[in-house]
Amino acid sequence: MAFTVSPPPHIKEGVSVKKLMWSRFIVLLPLCLASIYLFGFPALGNLVAGVLGAVFIELAIQKTFKQKVTIGDGNAVYLGLLIALMVPPAVPFWLPFIGAVFGIGVVKHAFGGLGSYMFHPALATWVFLKLSWASLMVPTSVPQLGSLSDLILETGAGFIADASPIAMIGVLYLIARRYIEWRIPLMYLLTTVVLVFLLGDPLSYVFTGSFLLGVFFLATETSTSPITKNGRLVYGVACGLLTVIYGYFTGNYIEGTFYGLLLANAIAPMIERSTVPKPFGGVEA
């Protein structure tokens, strides 16, 4: 009888990169539906354009350089959707498309592909679009600030992600399943709430869809956050701090979230290096 011979372990948990990426994608879908309900066809078009742009450029790069095509792992689709969620709903369709091409082509693949990028592709893309098409990247109206009922269905326009913060509730399932780690979101939320409270800004300024997207999906991007346990706590605090610094002085916590997180990405390796844990039992004397 022929038996398979292979190195241990011979059992593995049924978690794969594919599962992690697609589950995040699925959890974002209710938010997309809410935005389509609110903004109609333009939102739908933008979301599709973002995903298509991401898939297109990933396929083109991997075909050109004769690499293995990895569309199936869902990372490009997920990033494309994130990029589209971070533009105002009324922009022309080519904008999220170009954004996704830049995000996947330059920020992801030029830096080495999945797992190797040092900045979150969606964040870097948002800054790229903001600098290149500054007039388009301004929402036609800011979310109606001042009422917490906006958490359910936003009445202002904002970015597509601002449509319905509550629609991101599925993220709690991901945290419970440990598909998203709890340390970064918890520390980020706590730090922001405490600082905003101390500085005297109303909390409803802060709790927008974009901010929650940042807390749960952008800050927790695994490649751009530290892997050490303490490092993740420190990183969460740093994210909160940078967000509030920008938000407090400009009064715009949405942009504060995105700029703050991009800066936090930059200091993540330093945080990781300075929080390497001591092994259990100590080291050899």
Binding site: P9, V15, V17, T70, G281
Partner: protein, 437 residues
């Protein structure tokens, strides 16, 4: 405990390796064509880390040569054709023996601990020892011996006597209700055993101070302490951490197994050498359970005793699916360090493709030693072994938990093991250079 089968059916062929633990190989004492009796010594060796090999069967020596082994390598073995005869060498029980005599008997019987150390060496580490810990945290193995629990406890007492250690601690899993129940009903030194839970900082010492029993049972966590997890065992049970490069004996603890306690009883009270073991068979077989098997029995026969393969077997794993060896043939025999056999069907055999690390840190969260497995593995892959050392690669206990949870299916354990080997080589080379200066 009722589902323990004793494998009495004679196998067609018995393969008795001359090296059944991680130590010195024995030289065969018999020649081709010779008749051997049950309990006859087949292998003799000299050195410090030895375990004599005895024949568990009565039969004729068919050949002596390299034969398949559950370690995956081919090892010099004596092949017997067993016969129906049950004639054995004379078994002489010992009574009222002195501690040094007891150690001598344990050495003669060739008893080996579950962590590959001969018991006679493990019991006498030449250091100050205050506690003998019996690791009964493999539920299936413990259940196999619950039927003869009095013998196991007697063997454990004999081990205490032989080593001169004053107190014993038996560790069971907190969720292993069956074993806890059995231990509750057991009597040692005329008194029932005390079962104590490990809570927070209340380690075994806390209970041993209060109770003047020689032996207590502690229920510690929901962890099965495999041979590489000595550090965790001594920390969880006794609250004493073992630092890198040290053994539990450096913190005054000696660890033994349930199997060796039973074997010590057999050796001293019945005069029998170490001839048989309980082996658990789980996975794709028709009747999973524990089987008491004589050493040298091919794994094929053990699986037949468990009702044979269920479906088409794809993988046969010896000693656990976390760190065990997938063997290439089921002709390989059960040896002294075999504890369990796992059978996977063709459909269950994992076929994963390694992809890039996404730094999800699941390996960091699961690592019992607080390491950064993904970083060590990446440096090992790049050949930067010094960086691995800075990340404490040498502290890795190779439990395999990181590779189990990895969503990218990377070969984390293998890469870390490789870096450990390279660090070891670098250190050895440096030492050589020092010496030649």
């Amino acid at each position: 405990m009722s589902d323990v089968i004793r494998l009495d059916k004679l196998p067609e062929k018995v393969i008795i390796p001359m090296r059944q633990h991680d130590g010195i190989a024995c030289a065969p004492l018999v020649k081709k064509g010779e008749e051997v009796l049950v309990g006859q010594k087949l292998g003799e060796c000299e050195g410090s880390d030895l375990a004599y090999v005895h024949s568990p069967f009565c039969g004729t020596v068919e050949s002596i040569g390299l034969m398949p082994n559950p370690s995956g390598k081919r090892i010099l073995s004596v092949v017997l054709t067993p016969s129906e005869c049950t004639q054995s060498v004379e078994f002489v029980p010992e009574k009222n023996a002195s501690p040094s005599r007891l150690i001598q008997i344990i050495k003669e019987a060739g008893i080996v601990e579950y962590y590959e150390k001969p018991t006679y060496l493990a019991l006498k580490p030449e250091k100050r020892i205050d506690t003998l810990v019996m690791n009964a945290t493999f539920p299936l193995i413990t259940h196999a011996y619950l039927g003869s629990l009095d013998k196991v406890l007697k063997g454990f007492s004999l081990m205490l006597e032989a080593s001169g250690i004053s107190r014993g601690v038996i560790v069971v899993r907190a969720d292993d209700k069956e074993s806890i129940k059995a231990f509750k009903g057991a009597v040692v030194d005329g008194k029932p055993l005390t079962i104590a839970p490990i809570i927070g900082k209340r380690h075994a010492d806390y209970y041993l101070e209060d109770i003047d029993d020689r032996i207590i049972v502690v229920a510690a966590g929901k962890v099965t302490y495999t041979p590489t997890m000595m550090n965790l065992l001594s920390a969880d049970v006794m609250g004493r951490k073992v630092s890198l490069g040290h053994e539990p004996s450096d913190v005054h603890i000696v660890v033994c197994g349930v199997k060796s306690a039973k074997a010590v009883y057999d050796a001293i009270s019945e005069g029998k050498p170490y001839l048989e073991n309980a082996v658990t068979v789980i996975g794709a077989v028709n009747k999973p359970g524990a089987v008491i098997v004589r050493f040298g029995t091919p794994i094929k026969d053990v699986i037949d005793a468990c009702g044979g393969y269920k479906g088409e077997p794809g993988k046969v794993i010896v000693n656990g699916s976390m760190g065990g060896v997938a063997i290439y043939t089921d002709e390989a025999p059960v040896v002294k360090n075999t504890t369990g056999i796992v059978v996977q069907t063709k459909a269950e055999v994992l076929q994963d493709e390694t992809t890039a690390c996404i730094h999800c840190a699941r390996c960091v969260d699961i690592c019992p030693m607080n390491l950064l497995p993904t970083r060590i593995a990446s440096y090992a892959d790049m050949g930067k072994y010094e960086e691995c050392e800075h990340l404490y690669a040498m502290n890795c206990i190779e439990c395999g938990a990181c590779a189990v949870v990895c969503p990218s299916k990377r070969h984390l354990v293998q890469l870390i093991k490789y870096s450990k080997l390279q660090i070891h080589n670098i250190c050895a080379a440096e030492a050589m250079e020092e010496a030649t200066k």
